[in-house]
């Protein structure tokens, strides 16, 4: 903890990192929502890179059980700098008016610092924007075309999505963006930068017994499965981004939690000749980096899934584990015809994702089973898209989500796979629409006909996110939008 060990004895599985930190007197991290939405609780943890080094990774301290930090390395805003010795990120934020009430600020600092240290953030060749030129776009002077500045990237390679999970009610964000875009490269003697070369602490097997329950982190899959067999009421905890919300908002308490987020067997990523296999406990950020664009449909989905803070924890196993009808990975994975690999003490089985969901938050997953991986068959369709309808562009839950994967041969749709979320009790395939497209020309007329079919898929409902009428209407326009995009390659809409 900020460079010194602190004892975790006697913590309950439902004690979050945030509550623990604050009880320790480390009150820099704040609670703004307790459900992963505001980022006021953001902290940095040392996590592995794809290679052998460390990546400072910002996560929501309000969601994760502190027991999961046993043996881990953590940094908070207090650890980064002091008022009389500010960290470069803190200095930029302070001098540019990046804080007003200051309540969101420590969280922004941690999210920003993690991005500051991100490997591959492009070299800081750009001139530092002049703080007095408050409103103006930073000059586009980066020399790396792959990291060219745009509305979401700074001239220093800073990716604004790193801050998509931090809310500020005071500033309107412009000075925070300017602070982010003004950051140079870490100094040579920066201890946090120096730390990146070495591996993070290994995840060790743990068992912490508290007053109301136990948190156990098994060392491997076999141990996990036998624990699960012994404790049928145990709750699996991966990134804890759903679990933390259950604990904080709905008062869920669990006598026995099994931490599966560091299990090596659930953290593999392999690209074979006929499939891509993604470990269920890799965070979405890790999957995104590991795949490096090899599954374009997922690449389109990732930036629309929650925020970077959440994606740094959230796993595909957890997204499928809840059986939620509004998760964002299912529509994409359905379009990709993914299979779910389920493991239990008795062995493994594979289930097509299309058969996995059986009802509202119901799945074929049996007691004693966990999701080890998802498998995506190759080759991939060449035309793919992910449409997410939500109120807010960054970090919102879908009202409707659509994953498309189409094969076109000489203007004819040879194969269509469309996954839908938010329009029924489970994620579904738009089978009637697929049939209306397959074997027919990818033409405006056919698309209009198929769009009418798609409009009638599912049984959307009214809720506070969207009306049923709007859900139906946007289901009906999704294919038109895709067609417009593919037909003219013209950039449409937001």
């Amino acid at each position: 903890m900020n460079g010194a060990p602190r004892a975790l004895d006697g913590t309950d599985p439902s004690t979050t990192i945030l509550d623990w930190l604050r009880a320790q007197g480390l009150t820099g991290a704040k609670e703004g929502c307790a459900e992963g939405e505001c980022g006021a609780c953001s902290i940095m943890v040392a996590r592995p890179t794809e290679g052998s080094g460390t990546q400072w990774t910002a996560i929501n301290a309000c969601l994760v059980p502190v027991a999961a930090l046993d043996g881990q390395e953590v940094v908070t805003s207090e650890g980064l700098g002091r008022p009389d010795a500010l960290h470069p990120v803190q200095r930029e934020m302070a001098v540019r008016g990046g804080s007003q009430c200051g309540y969101c600020t420590p969280g922004f600092i941690c999210s920003m610092a993690a991005e500051y240290y991100r490997e591959g953030r492009c070299a800081p060749t750009a001139a530092t924007p002049d703080p007095s030129q408050n409103g103006h776009e930073p000059a586009a002077t980066a020399n790396d075309p792959g990291n060219a500045p745009d509305h979401e990237h700074g001239p220093n390679g800073f990716d604004l999505h790193a801050l998509s999970g931090n809310l500020c009610r005071c500033t309107g964000y412009r000075p925070i963006r300017d602070a982010a875009y003004a950051l140079g490269a870490p100094a040579d003697d920066d201890p946090y930068a120096a730390r990146l070369a070495a591996a993070p602490p290994a995840a060790r097997a743990t068992r912490l017994d508290g007053a109301t329950g136990t948190y156990a982190r098994p060392g491997d899959l076999t141990e996990a499965l036998s624990l699960l067999a012994d404790h049928p009421d145990a709750v699996l905890v991966a990134g804890a981004t759903d679990w933390g919300v259950e604990v904080n908002i709905r008062g869920a308490r669990t006598p026995f939690a099994i931490g599966i987020d560091r299990l090596p067997e659930l953290r593999t990523l392999s690209v074979g000749d006929d499939s891509v296999e993604i470990g269920a406990a890799l965070s979405l950020s890790e999957v995104e980096r590991g795949l490096a664009g090899r599954v374009p449909l997922l690449d389109k989905m990732f930036p629309q899934f929650a925020s970077r803070l959440i994606r740094n924890g959230a796993t595909i196993g957890g997204n499928l584990g809840t059986g939620s009808p509004i998760g964002d990975t299912p529509p994409a994975l359905l379009a990709l015809e993914a299979l779910v690999v389920l493991a239990s003490a008795d062995g493994e089985r594979e289930v097509p994702l299309a058969d996995y969901f059986t009802g509202y938050r119901q799945t074929v997953k049996r007691e004693g089973e966990l999701i080890r991986a998802v498998r995506i068959p190759l080759p991939l369709s060449e035309v793919t898209a992910f449409h997410k309808i939500a109120k807010r562009r960054f970090d919102d839950i879908s009202s409707v989500a659509v994953g498309f994967a189409l094969d076109l041969r000489e203007g004819v749709v040879t194969k269509a796979r469309i996954g839908l979320g938010g329009v029924a009790a489970t994620p579904i395939r738009a089978l009637a629409t697929e049939a209306a497209l397959e074997g027919r020309a990818w033409s405006a007329d056919v698309v209009r006909e198929a769009a009418a079919v798609m409009r009638a898929e599912g049984t959307p409902m009214d809720d506070h996110r969207a009306s049923a009428a709007y859900r139906t209407a946007t289901l009906g326009t999704a294919l038109l939008k895709l067609h417009a995009e593919t037909a003219t390659q013209q950039e449409v809409g937001a």
């Binding site: 604050r22 007197g25 009150t27 820099g28 704040k30 703004g32 929502c33 459900e35 939405e37 505001c38 006021a40 908070t76 805003s77 207090e78 002091r82 008022p83 500010l86 934020m93 302070a94 008016g97 804080s99 007003q100 009430c101 200051g102 309540y103 969101c104 420590p106 408050n134 409103g135 509305h151 998509s164 809310l167 009610r169 005071c170 500033t171 309107g172 964000y173 412009r174 000075p175 963006r177 919300v245 904080n248 908002i249 008062g251 449409h387 309808i389 109120k391 807010r392 562009r393 960054f394 919102d396 839950i397 506070h464 996110r465 999704a478 939008k481 417009a484 449409v492 809409g493 937001a494």
Partner: protein, 818 residues
Amino acid sequence: MSALSERPANPVVGQEIPHEAASLHVTGEALYTDDLAVRTHGILHAHPVQAPHAHARITRLDPSPALEVPGVVRVLTAEDVPGVNDAGVKHDEPLFPSEVMFFGHAVCWVLGETLEAARLGSLAVEVDYEPLPSLVTVHEAIEAGSFQGGQPHMERGDIEAGFAGAAHVYSGEFEFAGQEHFYLETHCSIALVDENGQIFVQSSTQHPTETQDIVAHVLGLPSHAVTVQCLRMGGGFGGKEMQPHGYAAIAALGSTLTGRPVRLRLNRTQDMTMSGKRHGFHAQWRVAFDDTGRLQALDATLTSDGGWSLDLSEPVLARALCHIDNAYWIPNVRVNGRIAKTHKTSQTAFRGFGGPQGMLVIEDILGRCAPQLGIDPIELRSRNFYVDGQSTPYGQPVRHPERVAICWEQVLTTGDVATRKADIAAYNASHEHSKRALAMTPVKFGISFNFTSFNQAGALVHVYKDGSVLITHGGTEMGQGLHTKMLQVAATTLGVPLSTVRLAPTRTDKVPNTSATAASSGADLNGGAVKDACEQIIERLRAVAAGRLGVHPADVRFSDGHVGKVGGGATVPWADLVNQAYFQRIQLWAAGFYRTEGLHWDSSAMHGSPFKYFSYGVAASEVEVDEFTGAYRLRQVDIVHDVGDSLSPLVDIGQVEGAFVQGAGWLTLEDLRWDESDRPSRGRLATQAASTYKLPSFSEMPEVFNVALLERAHEDGAVYGSKAVGEPPLMLAFSVREALREAAAAFGPAGTSVDLASPATPEAVFWAVQEARGGAEPPHMTAMVEGAPGVVPDQPGADAAPLRPRSEQAAQPARAGT
């Protein structure tokens, strides 16, 4: 230039400096009320029992099962109140209710050794309810005739004559949503009993004096036995003007009864389900234009959704009426206001305080009418601007109206509006599925509390023997940079460097009888008081310096920590002079006081000059709308805003930008949805968390955001020539809404007028696009009608009470709002 507004040479005011606590913010070392909990030994935690009905009678409340829960220390109920069981200033808010008035109303509070124990205890308390019929929407209240408080009426000219001769008459209805404050820091109070039974409450409050009043009133103590301190707030926005008092009183009551410190911090769900919000409004309107598009008459009835109790609803409504003209001259006006009583949280102050709601009505009218009139909205708006010599419908002369036109011209130029409009037209012609639009709107906002008595402030300035200075004033810091500005004012007046001055947290035992830090008035009022205190000290030191330097007192000059003679020569360091003065037995501290002169207001007649001056600003916003989903992007925003001669430019620009984005959030994204069904969850706030109630995030920040402060904008009536800035720029966000309307209309034939719901979420914009293309009417909207009779605004009944804040009734304690 007045003595108040004139700046000395080399002033510290006007310097661009970061927030005074910035280095504490960024390191996490700045303390907020809840951060004190871990530093307070033996503290208890409070948790509410919230009622699951919109309206019900409590038939039985049995706390005893809660006491069986390990760690539960006590359950606080109505019987425990030694003073008055009331947390409001209108005596209509029982702290422990016998009748549940909204879904989530706290009926009692459990104290526990841990928050978990208190939470489990709250689940164990047994309460029986007899559900009663409820009114959840403003429509239901209007239909049922359920109103509360006074019904203000504002009239000027001859309304019928205005309509009779007009070339164009339109009418319509418009209902728009309120807004959750969503300060990042939720309500929090920590109370403890000090020596000799004195209660010390640390509270996240914008109004420490009123928190003190209510705590004293609930505990049955005189005010001198209660001290309230506010270190700083993690945002307030008006949500902590009136709402913290009850929570502070619960903590204080718990502390008196147990003898232990008590912490009451609401979690986000509790905060959203229990605390008041910006008022949503319903408006009926009729408007008349002449054949050149000049406004001739406006007849409107505004109904605010006040929720279950009055709180600040009356002054909020008064300010709405006073801002329905925005920056436009309307010769004949009649506006009526009334407050619906509904079974919802009690709606309260929120940045702009009714002003935004009043102005939204006229901007919506102009946006809807412009296509019908065949006049470009930019032209229609500027054609109606006030000019010198005109006055508002409530009779206040509009001073400096030319500043709107100057800001307007500057935005047209710096925003390159003509070129961009041409680009937009070309873009729209070549893009079938997405459209862009640029809209401009002005702001004119009256500064001062409408209620004259509140326009006063105090400060305490200590100069210690070593020359260091400590200031305290009656205003609270919630991120708006008030403390930064007060440090600058003190350093300027004393002629010392900023580092010589420190500021201590706001406390009622330092400066008593303060007004809320609200109405954007914090810097004007407290700055006047700080300056006054510093000037008293300077006057005394002047005599000492005159003797030491051998010059006439009038020729002594204090600047940058040195005291010398005007025109140069030898100087004495500030600290030396101070030390010398101490030995000469000169008083080195002073209490300062300020009251705004020249205000008068008759709220029953809705007439007078309630405002010291008007703040002005103009924004141009460009958006792009996607046909398929209604999703949009805010491509560019250009703002010129009048803050007078800025006291602190970095702070002021921050206020303008932050207010703009917050306003855009209200108008486009933030969606308060109450359950209006007949299910048992009727009246429940469905969007009661950050996951369902979406605030602007980085994705809503304008992609290009240019903010300039109006130059040569000296304001004679305020401290060092500055103007208030907290609220006015929020209303610049109307330009976003109007741009969305125009972009949606661009999907239809030229001259299309569309109705746009508020908030203009992607879904609402989607329906507006459908309407433009000749499809269905957007749900929840009433179409605009051309010609008479159209919509005829309701007129008040004979029994309607005029608006007469309690505080105007001489015998009552002055406690009503802004």
